[in-house]
Structures are given as structure tokens and as C-alpha cells.
Amino acid sequence: MLLKKEKWSAFTQALAAGRLWAPVKQDGAARFAPVAAGETPDLDYDNTTVPAKTLVFPQTETLYRYRLGQTAMELPGPGEEAVLLGVRPCDARAMEMVEKLFRWDVDDPYYLKRRALTTVVGLACKEPGANCFCPSVGGGPAGAEGMDLLMVDLGDAYLLETVSGKGEALLEGVKDLLEAAGPDAAAHKEQVVREAAGKIRRGVDPAGVPEGMPGLWEHPLWGQNAAACLGCGTCTYLCPTCHCFDIQDEVEGFDARRCRMWDSCMFAEYTLHTSGHNPRPTRRERTRNRINHKYNYFVQKFGVIACVGCGRCVNLCPVNIDIIEILRQAKEAL
């Protein structure tokens, strides 16, 4: 279906009748924020600093709450449906990937609940960033994996492609605003996507890396690349596929909750035993684990590289530790 851009405002208004999240720009960076009725989101933005995962896997999430001194535990309610507008293909694909983990063996009710309640309206990329490398890891500027609906910017209109039943239902609700796509829309889309892909300058072919990783365990590349690492959580917190968390009890007066919050494998405390022993004592081991988790362990368990090539960790690492460069070195060392 086709959505003319003059109908964009009406379209978003219709979506904003329910809960709608879309990127907003603030201080030079975009982030997902709720869109109130009357506001029109602007999709002209570079990728958000914090990935869309934060809406299905919030940084802090209450597991259950209770009163101190009592044993009754109250679970969160059923939650509300929400539409997530303008999600980039990398972020959407990551949500799908992380779902594999959250479905593995035991279902994680919190992630799956939010995932089920969320309709992801994706947006194909037109202007990839300087560090985008999604094609290297099996994605692409118009990949629809993990989305319910894909929008492609064709200049004067958006081409809307339904990916799932949820996306279809969403379109059904706004069908008055849409018109049928012409016969040349598909070719137009092809061209837009091809142009976008052509603008991606960085990349590395990871073929052979997952199988080769165990052989590189003691390779000096880990120490060399981790030397400058500060041990902060930027790369992992901004990674759309990083899903590690910590569980803590928090008390305020007699109200308390057990909640989970993002944690990062780059922190020393992450694996620190209470005895003081740390199985990953330095940043070398922690960096090695981060890359291995994405390019080796996850592949072994779920058959896919847990990196979507969004480039956030490269772009925002305070000391320019570059996963593309690490992979290039790893490949060279194979």
C-alpha cells in the first residue's frame, strides 16, 4: 500500500490514538519517546542513540513487588498495546534475535509480553551512517525481519509492506488514508534500497569467524584491542542485541520490588564472585567474551550472529574500539 506524505500527519494521528512511540530529536541525537496526540513525528533522523530494544526490554523492569515483612508478591499487570514507529531494520532484526534467547527452554514472560503487545513499524534506511555494516552480518537497509510493517520512503510517499498479521491489522485501521501502490512501486523500492546499500562503506565478511573463534582464544589481538578499553558499558548498553541483566531488590520504606536492569559484560563486577575470584579478571577476557558471545556462542546456540551491524558500539565507544576492526583482525588471523 502507499501512504502519500501529505497524509503522514493524519496517519500518525490515527496511530497516536493508542500508545505510539517514535524517534524525537533532542540535543543533536534521536531517541524513542511517546508521541502525544497532536504531535507529528519526523522520521528524518539518524539512528537513535539507544536502540529500540529499550521498549521491549526496558533498562529497569519490575519483576514483582511486595511489602517488607510480608510474603505476598504482586506481578505487573497485563500491559498496554503500543505501536513503535520508525524502527530501523537493524533494531527490528535484533528484537527478533533476542527473542530466540528469551524463548529458549524457558519463556521469559516479561520480554514476550512486551513483544506481543508491540507493533513494530519499521523504516527502511535511506542514509546509512558512517559505521553501518548491516549487510556484512546478514541484514540490509530494507530488511523486514522482526517488523510487523515496513515503510520505504519513495520520495513523495511511503510504501507500506505488511510483514505480519499485526501489521495487517494496523493497516486495516487506517485504510482510508492509503492507496494501492502502482506497478512501478516495487522497482522504485528496489532502486531506493540499492542506493542506500551502495552508501554503506564499512564492513567485513564474517564467514569463517564463528568456527574460527575458538582457535583465536589466546591470540594477541584480544589484548591489543582491549588495551585502550575503559571498561564502561557504552558498547553493550547501546547494542540492540545485548540482553544481559542483573536482578536486584530495591526498598523504599516498606515498599519493595525485585527488578531487573541491564548489565554489561564489560563491567568487572559482572562475573566477580563474592569470594573475590573473577573468572574474567581483565578487560582482555571481557572484550574477548563480548565478541565471542556475538560471533561464536550465539551462533552455536541459535544459528545466527548476534550482531546486526548497527555501528553504535563503533560510533560511540569513547576510545574507538571498533568491532569491525576486531573482526577484520580475527579474519586475518584465522
Binding site: 519483576l63 514483582y64 511486595y66 517488607l68 510474603t71 508478591m73 506481578l75 534467547l101 528469551f102 529458549w104 527452554d105 524457558v106 519463556d107 521469559d108 514472560p109 516479561y110 575458538p214 582464544w217 589466546e218 540482553h243 544481559c244 541483566f245 542483573d246 536482578i247 536486584q248 531488590d249 526498598v251 519493595a256 525485585r258 531487573r260 548489565d263 559484560c265 559482572y270 562475573t271 566477580l272 564472585h273 563474592t274 569470594s275 575470584h277 573468572p279 574474567r280 579478571p281 577476557e285 567474551n289 565471542n292 558471545h293 561464536n296 556462542y297 552455536q300 546456540k301
Partner: protein, 281 residues
């Protein structure tokens, strides 16, 4: 794990507590029963499995269940006072409430070991996961060809379950070898490190399964010595411990290489572990 929400624990009541050891990091054992009768009936664990024990308002930590299901319909945890949660647990007395969720992880394949001789090699608090193995084998003593236990700690006061083992060693179904690192007055048993005691005893690998747990450095030397004694990789089992938060393979931190200790473990045969470089880090 019967709760629909895997993060939601059962409440449980402490029935009995006692100190296993003293010192600045004492070990206290808790005998616990679940409050909900249905949960109590539904609960079943196997030797080697763990459970997440928590205190509302403080936090949760993973502990191995240090009793065998053959001992009765209760749970036992032996906890060393070390950090925030364990410190708070040590304050508890009979009648106090806990939260428990689990059991988590795999277990020792005791069914497959029928007809074999079992050798356990433990050090310090590492004896806690081995205790259910010993109890289980004792309860089904006719199924197994032998049971030998080597257990050591720094001093005689650091030996867990000492009284129990001393009582057991008298009744003939267990050959019990205790050792402490440094000689002390009144100690008539062996003095020396666990790995060297293992060598001194020199158990035959024939039809034997060796199970070891203890501090990482001890495990490393015990494995070395077991290999010297001729044990095949498949005959050696150990149980790992890493920091854990969720217990169900989601939170990510307990991995040793590609294996999640909480799901794929905590019990591993050396045949598996020897290919995991991080396992003995």
C-alpha cells in the same frame, strides 16, 4: 519450576539452622520447607541441582541444594557468609521466611553410574554439591560398587558436615578420607592438600566415576592428578559455579564459553569441559 512466571519464587520457612564452620567466613546450613503444600509436593530435585535462594528486600543468590531427595521432603542449603545476601541469610533463624525458586540446572547422572564405584574429591565449601551425591549413593548403596570420599579444608574447623561424615565412616558403606592443609593439635587424620591426598590414596580408575568440586585452583590440580591416575575424561565430573542472577539462561553472566552454567550445567564431564577454555578460569 512450577510457577508460570519463572522469576516468581516460592516462599519457604526455615525449619532448622546450624553452623558447619566458624571463623570469619562461617558456613551455616539451613533446612527449609516450602510453604505451599502443592509446591512442596510438586518439588523434585536431583543431586547436583541448584536453587535461587532469596530474602525479600535483600536479594537472591544461587546455592546448590546440599541434600539428596532421598533424605526427605525438605531442602538444605549450606551458605558461607561472604556478601550482601549471604550476610543477611546468616542472620536468619528457624521460623524466618525465605524465597526459593528452582531447581535449576542439570544433575549428576547417577542413574548412568549404577554399578560403578563413586569417588568424590571435595575442598572447603565445594563439598556442598558432593554431599547429595554421597547421600544418594548411600541411600541406594546396593546399586553402586563403592563409595569413597576425599574431603579437605584449611583447618579442621573449616570442614563442613564433619560430624555427619565421621558418623558415616563408622557404618561401613563409605570410605571417608578427611584432610586439612596444616597440622594441628588433636587432629589424627591426614594432613596435606586434597590433590596430594588423592595421589597418596591412588584410587584405581577401573569402573570408577570421580566427582570433584572445590576452589578453582584445587579443581585444576585434582583434574591433573586424576588424569595421572589413568581416569578417562568421561570418568571425571565436576560442578561449576559462576555468578548467576536468573538461573534460566537469560541474564547471560554465568557462561563459560558457549555453555551457560545455570542451564547446560552446573554438572559437566571433563570430556565436555576440556574444550571450554574459560571453564577453569
Amino acid at each position: 519450576m512450577c510457577n508460570a512466571n519463572p522469576y516468581l519464587p516460592y516462599t519457604a520457612t526455615i525449619e532448622e539452622t546450624w553452623f558447619e564452620t566458624g571463623g570469619d567466613r562461617p558456613i551455616k546450613t539451613f533446612r527449609v520447607t516450602l510453604d505451599d503444600p502443592a509446591a512442596r509436593e510438586g518439588w523434585s530435585h536431583r543431586p547436583g541441582q541448584c536453587a535461587m535462594v532469596g530474602l525479600l528486600g535483600v536479594g537472591e543468590s544461587m546455592f546448590c541444594i546440599s541434600c539428596s531427595p532421598t533424605e526427605g521432603n525438605f531442602l538444605r542449603f549450606s551458605v558461607m557468609r561472604a556478601g550482601k545476601v549471604t550476610g543477611a541469610l546468616h542472620q536468619l533463624e528457624p521460623g524466618d521466611k525465605l524465597t526459593v525458586r528452582g531447581p535449576y540446572g542439570n544433575s549428576f547422572p547417577l542413574g548412568d553410574w549404577r554399578g560403578k564405584k563413586i569417588l568424590t574429591v571435595g575442598g572447603g565449601i565445594g563439598q556442598a554439591p558432593l554431599r547429595p551425591v554421597i547421600e544418594y549413593v548411600r541411600a541406594n548403596r546396593d546399586d553402586y560398587a563403592g563409595l569413597t570420599m576425599i574431603y579437605g579444608a584449611r583447618t579442621s574447623n573449616d570442614l563442613c558436615f564433619k560430624g555427619e561424615f565421621e558418623a558415616m565412616s563408622g557404618c561401613g558403606d563409605l570410605s571417608c578420607h578427611l584432610t586439612i592443609d596444616v597440622a594441628e593439635e588433636g587432629w589424627t587424620r591426614n594432613v596435606g592438600f586434597v590433590p596430594s591426598m588423592l595421589m597418596d590414596l591412588g584410587p584405581s580408575p577401573e569402573n570408577t566415576i570421580a566427582v570433584t568440586c572445590g576452589p578453582p585452583i584445587m579443581i585444576r590440580f585434582v583434574l591433573e592428578n586424576l588424569k595421572k591416575l589413568g581416569f578417562a575424561d568421561e570418568q571425571i565430573y565436576t560442578t561449576l559455579e559462576n555468578r548467576m542472577k536468573c538461573g534460566i539462561g537469560k541474564c547471560g553472566r554465568c557462561n563459560a564459553g558457549p555453555l551457560y552454567v545455570c542451564k547446560d550445567g552446573p554438572v559437566f564431564s571433563y570430556a565436555v569441559l576440556k574444550n571450554i577454555p574459560e571453564a577453569f578460569a
